[in-house]
Symmetry: C2
């Protein structure tokens, strides 16, 4: 079974245990003969794939009433993978979704690591620091690097932890955030887990 | 007694109860004959004022050991104005400083309203919304505008409130933030209060 999570820049495949990426610009979906179960946030790719019989769009098996209209399909599949969890998906944005007893409670969007770093730099060259992920969150900062690191990370941490649920980290910056969310679990293939759940529920294989 | 808080773009005067601003580019400090007590974060202006006998730099009367080296003088004077308070100064950046029993505990820097709006817009055109300051912070968002508003505001709110101290709002966006920090007090002349305290302590008048 081949799974594929398609974003704006790449096809992310999971073929049994092996995962790999292909560039959206250069990859030819016609080159795959096997059945591929996919989700995609890329409308150009969608237009191509919907004409191919062996590419099966898993988004059609989602009960969309549980979610909101503009919510990204990748967030929805991460939510489908868990039951009692706060999901922190750290990419260009950090999306935080709360799932209680299998119900999606809602979620919020926070800027990603790179976006936030650029924001501080734009406010003032005096705030052009990389973030200190080894920051002690229990101590109020007394220098500029820690002051922006705390501003970015502790605010997010306080809000996430206040839900009193297990936390799972996923996405490109998950490992960095793990230094702050020390008790969280790391799951870089959470969306694939959600896809497998939906396949099972829809009895597709 | 004339007080003046000088930033990168303007001189902000308080003359008894009247406050007014003058543009840094066009205002001539030599045009003032009275004694002016000032603080300034503007190094160009500093170079001019230190040659004028009637302009008195209040920063010299601060015990800098209580603060950290790169901390802005405007933040320091806001801290000098209070004893048990979290100060939220909402300008191009939002600085949050914690004062307990008259001691500066430390503080952090969060992006300001305009900077954060631009950040979301840069991440994706799908996140180009103004913030909803009427957001109910007790409900997890289920639409994109609320998802970014909550990401910006609730994270800040959770962290500020966790200090369990009275909150005072100041700076250009204080009124907007007051919709979120409903129990906070609003003090748009907090820095001037700090200047008055220092004048009193230094027995300058």
């Amino acid at each position: 079974m081949i799974l594929c999570d398609i974003g704006n820049t790449s096809y992310h495949f999971l073929d049994e245990q092996k995962d790999y990426k292909k560039d959206v610009e250069t990859f030819n979906a016609l080159s795959v003969d096997e059945k591929v179960y996919y989700i995609s946030v890329n409308s150009n790719v969608n237009a191509v794939l919907e004409k191919l019989d062996n590419w099966i769009d898993l988004s059609q098996f989602i009960d969309r009433k549980k979610y909101y209209e503009t919510m990204g399909i990748d967030r929805i599949f991460a939510v489908e993978a868990v039951t009692n969890t706060v999901i922190v998906d750290a990419g260009s944005a950090i999306t935080v979704d709360v799932v209680k007893y299998g119900n999606f409670e809602g979620g919020f969007i926070y800027p990603g690591v790179d976006a936030m770093r650029q924001t501080y730099k734009n406010i003032s060259p005096a705030l052009d620091y990389s973030f200190n992920f080894d920051l002690d969150l229990d101590i109020m900062p007394k220098n500029s690097q820690d002051a922006i690191s705390y501003g970015f990370l502790k605010t997010l941490y306080s809000e996430v932890m206040h839900h009193e649920l297990p936390v799972v980290l996923t996405g490109g910056n998950a490992k960095e955030l793990h230094k702050i969310f020390k008790n969280a679990s790391l799951n870089e293939t959470l969306i694939f887990d959600g896809m497998k759940q939906i396949i099972k529920k829809a009895i597709l294989c």
